[in-house]
């Protein structure tokens, strides 16, 4: 019988209603996506890995799934920020999120959206074994909120040793001269700036390398912190140096080719017959993409470190890493993040090539390239994290766009930098 509206509940009725609510709540909780009614419990992971990087991640988590019975539900997106925002607003954030960099992590942590990993990880072991730079970057207000699960060396020059045979140039000027004259008819650089929603980022790596090596770590740090203006001579100089790389006569395919080529296809020009270019500037994570290109086109590949620009900053290295954070405190998420930072998982990452372990006790690199990259990081006189990834997300995105605009028309540099100054003013306000 339908209860008339407005009638007070009897004691028994109230009890029945309360029990009903509790039972319904239990059922709803039981049917939540993280704990599906049938099949293994699910851990939802959001990240930006795709292609060979995603394959590597799947191989890393395979033993975890087998041992624990959890299933990893991985979603890949290049719009991490947007997707994460939406999931938080909908009240269904993923258990784990791969964050694009410390800048975005800081924003998330300050909004209280990241779980303190001090209670999740074996924090003693993590701090003892992880690269200090990564522990520092993952720590906000004394709390560890982001854990690095692999590292990357930026600013490497990939080349085909059967084409380029002139050894390691000592300085940037030497490299430029060598690259221009080494092989007749072959352009020095292959550059691909396209990367879907984040197009432009490969150019930011070039500019960051120039800033650090031309103007030193203090300017670099000030630039990241928002105290060095984009219109300053140091940043302008770095843009101009990048301009010499993407100029029509220097890059394979000219400006149009640079803007249209996807970063993952940029290495192809090294292995065509005849080759289109001598060098590709990319990070160590490019190894699987290089292997892919070699698989299709043949050839071999090797790396050169970024040469010295100003002798005062010799040995400066820029690195980056893949950062994960617990965005929803669940038992599965806790177990997974514990596993990902473990030496076991790190060993699987590095065994596939293209990744360096954030855990410094893992040293069993599978090839000479990985060992060389790890050596570069360990011996760096100045190690700095990727600048754009450390900037506020809005600044980072404006930087990507600025790279595209500058490549398209180098005469607009003043306007581009002035616009970046305006964004800087806005993004760093109150930070």
């Amino acid at each position: 019988m339908k209860r008339p509206s407005g009638q007070a509940l009897s004691d028994g009725g109230f009890l029945r209603l309360a029990v009903g609510i509790v039972v319904a709540a239990v059922l709803v909780a039981g049917c939540s996506p993280a704990q599906s009614m049938s099949g293994p419990p699910v851990i939802r992971v959001l990240g930006s890995w795709e292609g060979p990087e995603l394959d590597a991640f799947e191989r890393v988590v395979a033993p975890f799934e087998e041992q624990t019975g959890y299933r990893i539900d991985y979603t890949s997106t290049r719009n991490l920020r947007g997707v994460l925002e939406t999931s938080f607003e909908a009240g269904r954030p993923p258990d784990l999120a791969g964050l694009p960099g410390p800048g975005f992590m800081l924003e998330m942590a300050r909004e209280g959206r990241l779980v303190d990993l001090g209670d999740v990880l074996d924090i003693r072991a993590y701090k003892r074994e992880t690269a200090p730079a990564f522990v520092d970057l993952g720590t906000i207000d004394g709390r560890l909120v982001g854990a690095f699960i692999k590292g990357t060396v930026k600013g490497l020059f990939w080349y085909d040793p059967s084409v380029y045979r002139l050894g390691t140039p000592a300085t940037w000027s030497d490299l430029q001269i060598t690259a221009m004259t080494a092989v007749d008819g072959v352009r020095p650089w292959c550059v691909g700036l396209a990367s879907d929603a984040s197009s432009g980022w490969p150019g930011t790596d070039w500019i960051e390398d120039f800033v650090l090596r031309q103007s030193g770590p203090e300017v670099y740090d000030g630039w990241v912190a928002g105290t060095v203006r984009w219109t300053s001579p140091a940043i302008r100089k770095a843009f101009r140096a990048f301009g010499t790389v993407v100029a029509d006569g220097a890059a394979a395919g000219g400006v149009d080719g640079v803007l249209r080529t996807h970063f993952s296809h940029a290495p192809n020009g090294l292995f065509t017959d005849p080759p289109q270019c001598l060098f590709v500037h990319q990070a160590s994570f490019m190894a699987p993409y290089m292997a892919q290109a070699v698989g299709q086109l043949g050839g071999t590949y090797d790396i050169l470190p970024f040469p010295e620009v100003d002798p005062r900053y010799r040995g400066a290295i820029i690195g980056a890493g893949d950062l994960v954070a617990l965005t929803h405190d669940s038992p599965g998420g806790r177990e997974l993040i514990r596993y990902l930072v473990s030496a076991e998982a790190q060993s699987i990452w590095v065994s596939q090539g293209g990744a360096l372990s954030a855990n410094l006790t893992v040293t069993d690199y599978p090839d000479h390239l990985s060992r060389q990259e790890a050596g570069l990081l360990a011996s760096a006189t100045f190690f700095r994290f990727d600048a754009s990834d450390s900037m506020p997300e809005g600044m980072n995105e404006a930087f990507w766009q600025a790279v595209l605009d500058y490549t398209a028309d180098q005469s607009k540099l003043d306007d581009i930098l002035a616009h970046l100054d305006a964004i800087q003013e806005m993004e760093y306000r109150g930070s």
């Binding site: 003693r124 590292g151 000030g222 203006r229």
Partner: protein, 442 residues
Amino acid sequence: MTRDGELRQRLNTDNMLRSLALAAWLLVCISIVLGLAIWMARGSPRLPVSYVGGAMGTSSVVLCGLAFSTAAAYLTARAPRNLIGWVFMAIGLGMAVVLPINIALADVVRQFRLIDTPVIWVAWAVTSVQVPVSGTALVIVLLLFPTGRPEWRHWRAAMALAVAGGVLVSGGAALRPDGLLWYPTLPNPLDVPLEMRDVLDASVALGTVLLTVALASAGIWLTRRAWRADGAQRRQLAWVVAGGLIMSVTLVPLFVTRYVTSVDDALGERVVFTAAVGAIALPITVAIAVQREGLFGVRDLLGRSLVYLPLMALLAGLYTASVMIFQKVFVAITGTASDAAVVLATLLVATSLTPARNLLETIVKRATEARPVDATNVAPEGSMAAAPAADLEARLAQLEARLAELEGPSRAEPTEAHMNGASVRKRSALRRAGSGQPAALA
């Protein structure tokens, strides 16, 4: 050994202690100024230390180091055997090493290789010892004021509470399982298993309570003493009670937010800055008590301290502010910082030195001439304690000898009126001491 020999030996020891204090003060100044210069030349980056990593936190460390060591240098210059000066100096020295260590660690934690063990141990020592020991030392200062010897009959209980509190807080920080408290990036070389974290938290909370109780009881005792005293003694104590109160009100929140709970770095820095400003109230009020109320009979010496302490702070502030302003100007004009800002700021400070000193000397002269010295406070060299009855005769002899010295021809040609005034005041002091009148703190 003859009496002359004893006095000579005592004088030599005192001089040696004074030189030691001066050297320690110089060391503090050099360490702080160099640290500050390096930090600013690097563009004042955020340092990898929680609560004191930014400009406000760094200023707190600098302020405490300079204030405590300067007050210590003046106190030990007059009374080298008094413990208070040395406690202040220890606090100043402790603060002076913080900035250079923070700067050195900033380089180390940004590497991609494991940190050398000695570096971690240095950071561990700072994180474990610095603040708890300083807090305990400040309670001890209240218990020792002004003679350098404990005079409260319950001082042992209060000191035991302070020491126990300091040890518990320090021990809790030293054994933390999740890394170093002040340097959260670094692992703790002496960490205990994570399961013991609750025990440590409880012991740190207990330590904070004990320190607070010790601080309160020392403060209450000092207040009662001031309440019951009269004349110069009351005024002397009133200054220090005020300083102790300001210090306590700001220090307890620091201990609570740092050791019992946790706040974000931005708020933490404000708490630290407030605590630093509060903590320096103690050396400042001790100096005021000494200067204005004639404690330790060091009017002239401390008159100079009142000139040089603010002068130093003024010039340090001027230097810091002008470097920042010049850097901003350079950034606005050229888009990047320049070393020329440091050069310009140095020139500005150099040209401001003499006018600022003259101005401060005038102000201090006006302020101090108004109040006559309390004759009972003119203590014999090397002693700040009120004279016990048994020593009265010896002290009278010393005072007479001093009077003769003051009135002798070697004195730098004082006017007759001044001499007479001094003699009358000092003789009256002798008479009061001899008649058994209570002496003010000396």
